[in-house]
Structure formats: structure tokens, C-alpha cells
């Protein structure tokens, strides 16, 4: 079993473990942020570049450092490897760059976005970003489209992490959406309005790290901090039936899969559980969801009741003078 040292902490891991997985085994602040990698999706990762780290020693056998930063989610650990993440100023600086790129064309419409409060991009910007953007041009925009009856796509918010495409390929039985065009006009789309109507298509919503794919059946249009997450289950023939209910008072505002502390879905759930069971009586309650993930919800950057987004946004982004902060273009 290879041993790897990350930011001075050594761990022994099974063969084939990636640097990111090894870091997650160690835990704490040395875990690189990951916006596109998803452990349960094959071939995920490598795209966003937020997880880059420096390999200062390749391995015991070949101690040469790697010439460029590597994506920790796609780089396998070698015995004797030494990795620098937050202890490398270069990495921290490079990551700031990546965050800036990811936010470059992002609409910054957090105040009106369903995902606010559980958006990984928001977390990322808060923890690893620059204090303001240096981008002074019109942001790229796309029209909102419906992908089938239940899912809305706000392409403008998408960071092209490819997770939803991989869910469609690997979790549903037929992929009808994908990435069209290329470069900075690449977009998730169905090209013509095909419905995404598979038993498991709703999981695309849960893997989306931002608010690009949202649940059209989300009731009351609540902000996430106005609802309480509860673990619940039901007998389901199609899936495990283990879910998180987002409760507003005694009403089910939304159903999602349960997630681990890195925000990854533990068990895929079916569309029936997700979209059709909006009555509390459909469910057996297991108790409040333990939000331990690295998130603004748990870190009290937001209180669960009071939206505290204004000051956060003001420090994060200085909107160009001619633009409204929450305008959607």
C-alpha cells in the first residue's frame, strides 16, 4: 500500500487511490476543493481544475517533482509521493486564478438563485477566491430552458463540470442531453426540446454543484435557509427510498438525495420519490439531517433563517458599476 504525504501529513492508502481521495481520508483543511469530480461517477473530474495541487516529489522510485500542478482528482498516488496543497503559495495563487475563471461568466445572481446556501461555487469563492473580479466585460448569457417537465436549466450558471452528463450516461438508461458547441459557448442542452424523462434523471439536479439544474417542482420557491432538512425514507421499488426532505413547517418543499460531507449523493433516488412524493405522509421521518459538509449552511456564513447574503456578496464581488448585482443577464 503506497504512502503519501499531503501538506506534511502522511497516510497509507490502497493502490489506485487518487491524491484527492487520500486527502479526504486525512480530512480537514488540506482537502482540495472539487467542483467536477464525483466519486460515484466514472471518468468524472479533471475539468474544473480547482483541485490542483503541487507534487513536490513524484515517488520513492522517481523523486522528481512533477513539472506542472496536477488535478488531484485524476492523479493516482505513488509510494513516497509528497504533495503540497495549502502549504504551497503557488497552489493557493493558482487556485485563486481557477476560481476567478469559474466566476468570470457566472451571473452572480445568488440573491435569486435556488441553490444559494448550498452552492459549491459560492463556498469555493468564499474560501478560495479573490476579493473581487477583474472582469469588465458583458457576461455570457443563455436562455433558461426546461429539460423535460421537472428540471429547469439555467445554463448561464453552469460551470460545465460534466457531472450531469455522466449521471445521464451512467445512472439513467438513455441520455438525451449533452454538451453542445465548444469553447466558451459550449453549453449543456438538448438541442431540440427533448424531454429528459428517465426514472433517475432527477439525480442530475443533485450532482449539479451550482444552481444550473433545478427542481421545477420545488414548492414555495423557498430559499434554502428557510427550509429545514430532514432525513426520511419510504419503501420504494425503484430506489433505496432514502432521501432528504426539505421541510417548510410541516410541508415538503423539495425532495433530494442524501449527501455526504463533500456534497456527494450517497444513494441515487428515483424520480417518483423526488418529484411525486410531496406529502409528509408519504414518508417516515428519520430525524434532522446532519449537515456536516463544508458548507455555508454549516459554517454559519448563512444562518438557516436569516439570509445573510448581502454582506457576503459585497465582499466577494464588486459588480461593474453599470450592472445591477442581481440582474440576470
Amino acid at each position: 500500500m503506497p504512502k503519501v504525504t499531503i501538506d506534511g501529513q502522511m497516510i497509507e492508502v490502497p493502490d489506485g487511490t487518487t491524491i484527492l481521495q487520500a486527502a479526504r481520508m486525512i480530512g480537514g483543511p488540506i482537502v482540495p476543493p472539487a467542483m467536477c469530480y464525483y466519486s460515484s461517477l466514472k471518468t468524472s473530474g479533471g475539468y474544473c481544475r480547482t483541485c490542483i495541487v503541487k507534487v513536490s516529489k513524484g515517488s520513492e522510485k522517481d523523486p522528481r517533482p512533477m513539472p506542472k500542478p496536477v488535478a488531484s482528482c485524476r492523479t493516482t498516488v505513488m509510494d513516497g509521493m509528497e504533495v503540497q496543497n495549502i502549504t504551497s503559495p503557488e497552489v493557493v495563487e493558482a487556485r485563486k486564478g481557477v476560481v476567478e475563471f469559474l466566476l468570470l461568466n457566472h451571473p452572480l445572481d445568488c440573491p435569486i438563485c435556488d441553490q444559494a446556501g448550498e452552492c459549491h461555487l459560492q463556498d469555493l469563492a468564499y474560501e478560495h477566491g479573490l476579493s473581487k473580479t477583474r472582469y469588465e466585460f458583458e457576461r455570457r448569457t443563455f436562455e433558461k430552458i426546461d429539460i423535460g417537465e421537472k428540471i429547469k436549466l439555467h445554463m448561464t450558471r453552469c460551470i460545465l463540470c460534466y457531472r450531469c452528463v455522466k449521471v445521464a450516461d451512467q445512472v439513467t438508461n438513455k441520455r438525451v442531453h449533452g454538451v453542445m458547441n465548444r469553447g466558451d459557448v459550449a453549453e449543456i442542452s438538448t438541442y431540440i426540446q427533448h424531454a429528459v424523462d428517465n426514472d433517475f434523471s432527477g439525480n442530475m439536479i443533485d450532482v449539479c454543484p451550482v444552481g444550473a439544474l433545478t427542481d421545477r417542482t420545488f414548492r414555495f420557491q423557498s430559499r434554502i435557509w428557510n427550509v429545514n432538512p430532514m432525513d426520511a425514507h419510504r419503501d420504494c421499488k425503484t430506489c433505496s427510498g432514502k432521501v432528504t426532505l426539505w421541510m417548510k413547517g410541516n410541508d415538503v418543499a423539495r425532495v433530494s438525495a442524501r449527501k455526504d460531507k463533500y456534497g456527494e449523493v450517497i444513494d441515487w433516488i428515483c424520480n417518483d420519490c423526488r418529484f411525486e412524493k410531496k406529502d409528509a405522509h408519504d414518508w417516515q421521518m428519520d430525524g434532522p439531517t446532519n449537515i456536516e459538509r463544508h458548507s455555508v449552511i454549516s459554517q454559519n456564513h448563512y444562518s438557516l433563517k436569516e439570509p445573510a447574503h448581502k454582506p457576503l456578496l459585497n465582499t466577494l464581488y464588486t459588480a461593474p458599476a453599470d450592472r445591477q448585482l442581481n440582474s440576470n443577464n
Binding site: R49, P69, A94, G97, V98
Partner: protein
């Protein structure tokens, strides 16, 4: 006159046809490889020759070939990279159009050496007509027993196909090329695994440039040691240079590696000097991706030694004062050229060609283009120059494939060597009125 190996029969009429090609010694390398040598011995000759990849990176071909995994029962593939889309590069087209059989012969000999029974030539879609020329040559090769089953009675089988692309510079990157060949979007793969282990259809694959494969022919025919005597130092053999821009005689030249840059630009044998008697301002020596150098640094190294057309000499001084041989796309700019506008043109190119998979390249290329556009139109700020510098640094080395680097390097080099010109655009937008006409150099109104 330098030695010619690839274009030695360039003036022979009808050399593109099988009969004429054969009459001039064509397909001798296949005979030699299969009858006198073995597959391993051919690889050995390539190693001895010191041949380096002609597609841009200059990786030793023999070494690449010896990395090819050979698990039993798994097919291996040779794929020829004929995507040729690096701005300023047109040598592969020249070679394929005029000497199609040289490439076919190289493919057969190389496939034999690598143990590939199916090989593909992936050619950019815009070269559709060239693909027809190749297809005809392949037909002739089949008809004469050089392709198909049991070639020369050796029991070795080979099928060779031409695959056309459809317009995407990124498909020149070898893993994007393989994706495209598999019928997908040209998104570069995340490495490892490298193609030598898992390439086309997950099988071990070698990807080589057209010129690299063509060079296999003279190497096998003359022997690796003989080939290694040509050229200079570790830059062995000959190289096709695509010369374009403000020169009197643009075109494809086969040079013996080691020719002085000054001779290449000014002698009648090659570029014939700068057009209209103008002064040389700058050169992009190896295709648009390599750093631009001002006249004094392209003609002489920083130590005052004459700069030579070789891998080592062109990169002497690193990126601070040197550049790269790259694909051999030699773009010459005269004194009237606007470096800022030229850089904008290149940056627009990379922005347009980014596949969009990874965020630094997807977002950064467009951002740089917009800033350059603003500077060009007189709305720039001095801080924009530093911003550009910072952005290119945040792209370089942080992307999935080297297109990110290719987009970053030209920006860095232009600012490094021509910063004052950028400042002039910012401080004195009025001068842009004249600059706007810099690029209208040709009197295109004359027939």
C-alpha cells in the same frame, strides 16, 4: 544546397503517381524492412537516427515507439496526425498533395515496425481534396500488393484508411484526435493513460505527424546512423519549414537542420529576404504557439551567436530570449507589422479553438482576447498589460492539454519583447489611426 530527403523528387513530373514514385526508388523501405530487417530492427534504426517528432513537441520517435505496450491478443494502432492546423504550418499538405506515396510508404514501414494491422491517417476536414489524393494512392498501393493481406509474402497484413475531421484545431492534439477518430467531440483526454498504453479504442496506439512518418522512409533506406550524420547535434536530419508572411519567396523548404536563421530568411535559396525591401521586425519561428522573437533575437542568440534552425539553437535562452522550432511554421513580420494586432489575431484563434473542457482555457482565452481588442481600439489601460500577463500565467500549465500553454505563450512573449508597443496603444490612442492601416500591406487591387 542542403540535403533533400523528403523532397528530393519534388521536381519529378508525376511523382504523385505510383509508377513514377516506384521508378524513383519508392517502396524500397518496405522491402528492406520486411525482407532484410525485422520489426524490432526498424525500431532500432529509428532510435539510431535520432529522429524527433515533427508535429511540434520534438519528442524522440524511437523512444515513443519503444514505449508502445504490447499485451498479447490486443490490437495496436498507428495513427498519422495529418490535422495540420497550427497557424503558419502547411508542410504536411504540401507533402501529402505532391508525395502521397511517401506517406503511404512510411505508414506501411512504420505499421510493420509497430506490429499494427490497421492504421489510420487522420486528416483535417478542410483538406478533403487531399484525402482523395491519399485514397487514390492507397488504392494503388493495395493494387500493387503493398497493402492488404500477406504483404510481400511475409504473412504481415495491413489495412490503411483515411479519416477526415471537420474543422477543429484541437484535433491535432493527439488524444483529441483519437476521440475524434472514435466519432466523438474533439475533447483532449486526461492523461495518464497515454496513448502508448490506452489510445484508440483503448488499445496501445502511436500517433505521429505526417512528416515524422515520411522521414521513416529515408531512415530505413539509408540506415539510422547515416541519417544521424545529417543535421546538427541532437537535431538530426532534415526538416520541412513552412515559410510565410512578409518574405519574397514563401513556400515549403526542406532544410538540413542547422541552417543559420539569417541565411534562411535572406538567401535566395530559401525565403529570399523581406518583401518590398523592408526591415525584419519579428519572427514566429515554429507555428503560432511558440514565442515571437524580435529581429535581433531571432538572428542571434543573447550571447551573440548566430541562431540556427535547430531544436537546440532556437530554444537557446529559454523563453526569456529564445523560442522553439515547434512545427516549423516560420512566420516573418516586417517593420510595419503591429505586434499588438497580430497578438490579438492569434489570441482570437485560440479563443475560437478552445474545446471548452477546462476552465482556465475556456474562460481565459476569451478574456485575453477581449482585453487585447480593447487595447487595440484605444480603450486600454496600462494595467491591462499587467492583467494580460497575470491571466496568461494563470492559464499556463494549469489546463488539461497544451492548448492552454499555446494560448498563453504568445501573449507572454509579445509583452516580454514588445511591451512599449502595448503602452503606445494605451497612451497614444491617436496613433492607432495609422496603425489601423498597418495590415494593409499588399496592394491587392492589382490582378
Amino acid at each position: 544546397m542542403g540535403k533533400k530527403l523528403l523532397l528530393q523528387h519534388d521536381h519529378v513530373p508525376g511523382i504523385h503517381s505510383y509508377e513514377v514514385y516506384r521508378k524513383h526508388g519508392g517502396y524500397a523501405s518496405v522491402e528492406k524492412a520486411m525482407k532484410q530487417l525485422s520489426a524490432e530492427a526498424v525500431v532500432e534504426e529509428i532510435k539510431k537516427s535520432g529522429l524527433r517528432g515533427r508535429g511540434g513537441a520534438g519528442f524522440p520517435t524511437g523512444m515513443k515507439w519503444s514505449f508502445l505496450a504490447k499485451p498479447p491478443g490486443v490490437p495496436r494502432y498507428l495513427v498519422c496526425n495529418a490535422d495540420e492546423s497550427e497557424p503558419g504550418t502547411f508542410k504536411d499538405r504540401y507533402l501529402m498533395e505532391r508525395h502521397p506515396h511517401l506517406l503511404i510508404e512510411g505508414m506501411i514501414t512504420s505499421s510493420f515496425a509497430l506490429g499494427a494491422n490497421t492504421s489510420y491517417i487522420y486528416i483535417r476536414g478542410e483538406y478533403f481534396y487531399v484525402s482523395r489524393i491519399l485514397e487514390k494512392a492507397i488504392e494503388e498501393a493495395y493494387a500493387n500488393g503493398w497493402l492488404g493481406k500477406n504483404i510481400l509474402g511475409t504473412g504481415y497484413d495491413l489495412d490503411l484508411y483515411v479519416q477526415v475531421g471537420a474543422g477543429a484545431y484541437i484535433c491535432g492534439e493527439e488524444t483529441a484526435l483519437l476521440e475524434s477518430l472514435e466519432g466523438k467531440r474533439g475533447n483532449p483526454r486526461i492523461k495518464p493513460p497515454f496513448p502508448a498504453i490506452a489510445g484508440l479504442y483503448g488499445c496501445p496506439t502511436v500517433v505521429n505527424n505526417v512528416e515524422t512518418i515520411a522521414a521513416v522512409v529515408p531512415i530505413v533506406t539509408m540506415g539510422g546512423d547515416e541519417y544521424a550524420k545529417i543535421g546538427i547535434g541532437k537535431s538530426t536530419g532534415t526538416k520541412l519549414i513552412s515559410a510565410s508572411g512578409h518574405i519574397n519567396k514563401p513556400g515549403v523548404y526542406e532544410i538540413e537542420l542547422g541552417v543559420p536563421v539569417e541565411e534562411f530568411i535572406y538567401s535566395e535559396e530559401y525565403c529570399g529576404g523581406i518583401k518590398n525591401g523592408k526591415q525584419l521586425k519579428a519572427v514566429v519561428a515554429g507555428g503560432s504557439s511558440v514565442p515571437i522573437l524580435p529581429a535581433h533575437l531571432i538572428l542571434k542568440t543573447v550571447n551573440g551567436e548566430p541562431r540556427l534552425m535547430s531544436y537546440e539553437s532556437l530554444s537557446d535562452g529559454g523563453f526569456a530570449t529564445g523560442t522553439m522550432l515547434g512545427s516549423g511554421g516560420f512566420i516573418v513580420m516586417d517593420e510595419d507589422t503591429s505586434i499588438v494586432k497580430n497578438l490579438w489575431n492569434f489570441t482570437r484563434f485560440y479563443h475560437h479553438e478552445s474545446c471548452g473542457q477546462c476552465s482556465p482555457c475556456r474562460e481565459g482565452t476569451g478574456w485575453m482576447e477581449k482585453i487585447l481588442h480593447r487595447i487595440l481600439h484605444g480603450h486600454g489601460k496600462i494595467s491591462d498589460i499587467d492583467l494580460l500577463w497575470d491571466i496568461q500565467g494563470k492559464i499556463e500549465g494549469k489546463t488539461i492539454c497544451p492548448l492552454g500553454d499555446a494560448a498563453a505563450w504568445p501573449v507572454a512573449a509579445a509583452i516580454r519583447h514588445f511591451r512599449s508597443e502595448f503602452e503606445e496603444y494605451v497612451k497614444n490612442p491617436g496613433s492607432i489611426q495609422d496603425v489601423k492601416h498597418y495590415y494593409r500591406l499588399n496592394n491587392l487591387t492589382e490582378a
